[in-house]
């Protein structure tokens, strides 16, 4: 089990995480300016910049700095923010909590809804519920999230003032304070991510509905409800799982855009601020968290597929 299933994936996971930090680190080197110039502003003297650089350790060679960072990171020490001088952990942690909450709501509500909608579309293939759902999904796939967000704001906070257009609670708001402004960012994320899941689920339901085993089960005279739940759904969900995992990973990116539009105090906003201030330790920690999430989602999808698919759970020759 370990050597066949876990070991190769673990190696791949570690490689993904390390590689992404290397990429982000290099990209930051390529940007003009660094934390010292950003903190001191345009009018700073070269001497002042050089001094601050020395204090921040930015005067060393990039490779040496990355190796030092990696060494510390492996022991769980992700350094201090170049801007606030505080350890990066707590600040990123707070942002992570907020983002997880937003993503959690999106995934729980949006993705399950998407699966159900995909199922309905597949079952009512080429009739009006399918036409409606498929059109919505198509729109969701072709419109970028910032437009969706803008339209939602126009509709639900300007035309019908139901929800606030942006979060005003500030950086240190508690989840409770954030709750009222949650619906619009969550909806924007759902709309776009759900589209792919709906399409995939629909296609896979249609395939399964045409299979011999569904035909046979129907001829047994069982009810449609039972047919769908016991015979269709388990087989139809399997190919959809990978799309779900990909979408969770995609959420990481979508979150950045949506959070900054709504001024939501999560990882996305923090990322953008940190890039502006060239706060490398914060950026790297966010990168690590993003990469770990991505890897974990894929691993979970694989595990879920194994769990749901009897062919993988019980290989032919096992007794």
């Amino acid at each position: 089990m370990f050597t066949r299933f876990v070991a190769p994936r673990l190696g791949w996971a570690i490689a993904t995480i390390v590689l992404s930090t290397v990429l982000v680190f290099s990209a930051m080197q390529a940007l003009p300016g660094d934390a010292a110039t950003q903190i001191l502003g345009q009018n700073a003297t070269p001497e002042a910049v050089a001094t601050l650089r020395r204090q921040l350790g930015l005067d060393q060679a990039p490779v040496a700095r990355f190796v030092t960072w990696l060494g510390h990171a492996l022991t769980g020490n992700f350094g201090t923010s170049l801007v606030s001088g505080q350890a990066v952990g707590p600040e990123v942690g707070r942002a992570l909590l907020n983002t997880s909450f937003l993503a959690g709501v999106t995934i729980l509500v949006g993705f399950s809804l998407a699966m159900v909608l995909g199922l309905v579309a597949g079952l009512f293939r080429d009739r009006w519920p399918d036409a409606l759902i498929s059109t919505v999904a198509l729109v969701g796939m072709s419109v970028p999230e910032f437009i969706v967000a803008t339209l939602l704001v126009l509709a639900f906070s300007i035309t019908i003032p139901l929800f606030p257009a942006v979060v005003v609670a500030g950086q240190n708001a508690t989840i409770g304070q954030l709750l009222p402004s949650m619906p619009l960012p969550a909806l924007s994320l759902m709309f776009v991510a759900a589209a792919y899941i709906i399409r995939m689920m629909r296609t896979s339901v249609i395939d399964v509905m045409e299979s011999d085993f569904v035909h046979t089960a129907r001829l047994k005279g069982i009810t449609t409800g039972r047919l769908v739940i016991r015979h269709v759904v388990p087989s139809a969900v399997l190919p959809t799982l990978n799309v779900v995992a990909m979408n969770i990973a995609w959420l990481i990116g979508g979150v950045v855009v949506v959070e900054s539009i709504f001024n939501y105090p999560g990882m996305g906003s923090l990322m953008i601020r940190s890039v502006q201030s060239r706060d490398l330790p914060t950026i790297l920690l966010i990168t690590v968290i993003g990469a770990v999430t991505f890897v974990a989602c894929n691993l979970l999808a694989d595990l879920a597929a194994t769990f749901l698919n009897p062919r993988l759970r019980y290989p032919r020759n096992s007794k």
Partner: protein, 631 residues
């Protein structure tokens, strides 16, 4: 017939037309069908592919393809007017009166549900004997025992993929019986299964019918199966019942030329030669009320070439799919010769390694050991890229499934032209290659979708032969074809072998086809040769116990002697044993020595050899019967 009469019938179909719309035109799939079946009778539906057999079978369960509709007529099954049933009424009808055993149980069982749950679903909701969970379990076990599934209790908690094809079919039958239906519909229940498994399943079905007495409808293209199983038969052609009646009468005195043609085109293991194929012109004329003289009606007997040089020599071929160092190799120590103009058959059940050997010869599969020689001089490199162009040209392969091996968007011309261009063959043309396989040159413009199954297989052959090979590997090329098309392809093979001195390695599991076409036969079991000889020797009186099992399992038209294998004998082990005789686990003659020592090659004649520890005398047909008690 009046309504009261139809209540006494299990099935009563009157003037039935089933159709679908092609644009504004109505196309009939079934036309003017009248059928009646009394309780307890067994009706066989026979006809060629596309004749409407499955459509008719589906109708009995009120099931139609989505675009089809009933254009005319009535269908009463178990007293119910099936196409008047809706919603709950329809569900109840399907759940209690009539059940279907689908063609391919492997695909027809839900892969994500345990067997126990799938069986339980089929129990009637009003059946008090299955009210509790424990009761359902014990009834499920009882059903699986009824269909002779080994170890029924353990089977309940398994998933479909954990069973072999034959076992899946047994589960499919058990599921159909779960509701104690009055009528059981079986759509090709044994097509695609090995002969031994087929014999075992049919035997189970006969026994169930005797015990439970339900009416059965059995769809099959195999007249032998119909003959063995059915009290009545209806012969379908192009959606019409051309002839029906008690099986023995219809098969002994067929009145319609189509039935006569079908019967004549069945190859037999007890008689050599290629049977004649159907002549559609004669049948169409008869349908119009005219008579045409029947064309060729004689069986054609092929003669083996004598003293021709070898085109392929295989020595000590061993293939090992095992990843780990232990475990017996999949194919072990296979020796094989094919001479110019000779047709050598490689026979064995599924999983015996037939296709693996073909792939090795074609250079598509690596080996662990063995030497392959072409034309007695060129040693063959293991893989295609390392083979010279001339070698690649000399060995051509024709695949089982002509549908998938031809590119649907490529015309016949493109497909046949490819080898001509690839090997730079001058002095030949696509038209000439098509003429070689008896297709008119005009077919070059067509796409595969515009060809029938037999025509597609001819294009596949034309493509292989156009390269000008000396050896053709033919992997199950007639298995998917109707018998009458089959014989025309066999005749074509015979002619090509003679005219072009082609050597054929013909892979098949169908012994009747082997008898019709092969010069020599190699019998393979779990990747080991167990017997080889000329076709007459293999079908003669001294046989390896495995060959005997295969021969006994063949269900022949008009032959009541086909014997069912003993319980458990239809189950092929997962892989060959590491030592001893591969057949030891199923052999009725097994001795202690068989489990440890590899059987020696025992020569019976200069051309016939058997690998077995048993004395040859015990392998004689007459003695073997009394020794094994199989019959």
């Amino acid at each position: 017939m009046t309504a009261t009469q139809s209540e006494h019938l299990a099935i009563d179909i009157q003037n039935l037309d089933v159709a679908y719309m092609a644009g504004t035109r109505q196309v009939n799939v079934l036309q003017g069908v009248n059928l009646a079946l009394r309780p307890g009778e067994v009706l066989g539906l026979v006809g060629e592919s596309g004749s409407g057999k499955s459509t008719l079978a589906g109708i009995l369960l009120a099931s139609l393809r989505t675009s089809s509709f009933i254009a005319r007529g009535t269908v009463h099954v178990a007293g119910a007017d099936v196409f008047k049933l809706k919603g709950k009424g329809l569900r109840d009808f399907r759940a209690s009166q009539v059940a279907l055993v689908p063609q391919n149980a492997g695909a027809a069982l839900t892969p994500t549900m345990r067997i126990a749950d799938q069986l339980a679903e089929a129990f009637r909701s009003d059946d008090a004997s299955t009210a509790t969970r424990a009761a359902r379990r014990s009834r499920a076990i009882e059903l699986l025992r009824l269909v002779r599934l080994p170890n029924p209790a353990a089977a309940l908690d398994k998933y479909p993929h954990q069973f072999s094809g034959g076992q899946q079919q047994r589960i499919g039958i058990a599921m159909a019986l779960a509701a104690r239906p009055a009528i059981l519909v079986l759509d090709e229940p044994t097509t695609g299964l090995d002969v031994v498994t087929q014999a075992a399943i049919l035997d189970t079905l006969s026994r169930l019918h005797a015990e439970l007495g339900m009416a059965m409808v059995l769809v099959s293209h195999d007249l032998g199966v119909i003959d063995k199983m059915c009290t009545h038969v209806a012969v379908l052609r192009q959606g019409k019942v051309v002839e029906s009646g008690p099986t023995k009468d219809v098969l002994a005195h067929p009145s319609h030329p189509y039935t006569r043609g079908l019967l004549a085109s069945v190859p037999r293991i007890n008689a050599p030669g290629i049977p004649p194929s159907l002549d559609d012109a004669v049948i169409d004329a008869y349908e119009r009320g005219e008579t045409l003289p029947a064309a060729e009606s004689a069986v054609y007997e092929r003669t083996a070439p004598v003293g021709t040089p070898p085109v392929l020599t295989v020595r000590g071929l061993t293939v090992d799919y095992n990843r780990k160092p232990h475990g017996a190799p999949t194919v072990l120590d296979v020796d094989l010769d094919v001479h110019a103009g000779e047709i050598v058959a490689l026979v064995g059940e599924s999983g015996s390694g037939k296709s693996t050997i073909a792939n090795v010869i074609a250079g598509l599969q690596g080996t662990k050991a063995g030497v392959l020689t072409l034309d007695g001089e060129t040693e063959l490199a293991a893989t295609v890229p390392r083979r010279a162009k001339a070698v690649r040209r000399a060995i051509q392969i024709i695949f089982q499934n002509a549908d998938t091996s031809l590119n649907p968007r490529q015309t016949v011309r493109d497909a046949v032209n490819r080898p001509l261009r690839l090997f730079g063959i001058r002095g030949s043309s696509v038209e000439a290659a098509l003429a070689d396989v008896d297709l008119p040159g005009s077919f070059a413009q067509r796409l595969p979708g515009q060809l029938s199954g037999g025509q597609r297989q001819r294009v596949g052959i034309a493509r292989a032969v156009a390269a000008g090979p000396s050896l053709v590997l033919a992997d199950e090329i007639v298995s998917a074809l109707d018998v009458s098309v089959q014989s025309s392809i066999l005749r074509l093979m015979d002619r090509l072998a003679r005219e072009k001195d082609l050597g054929f390695l013909f892979i098949t599991h169908d012994l009747a086809v082997v008898r019709a076409i092969a010069d020599r036969v190699v019998v393979l079991y779990l990747g080991r040769i167990v017997e080889e000889g000329t076709v007459d020797e293999i079908f003669g009186s001294i046989s390896h116990p495995y060959t005997r099992l295969l021969l006994d399992a063949v269900i022949e038209l008009g032959d009541d002697h086909a014997s069912a294998p003993a319980p458990g004998q239809d189950e092929v082990p997962d892989g060959p044993p590491e030592q001893g005789c591969p057949f030891a686990s199923r052999c009725p003659l097994v001795m202690d020595v068989c489990r440890t020592v590899r059987p020696p090659v025992v020569p019976v004649s200069a051309t016939h050899s058997i690998r077995c520890h048993a004395p040859l005398n015990n392998l004689r047909l007459d003695l073997a019967e009394s020794a094994t008690g199989l019959v």
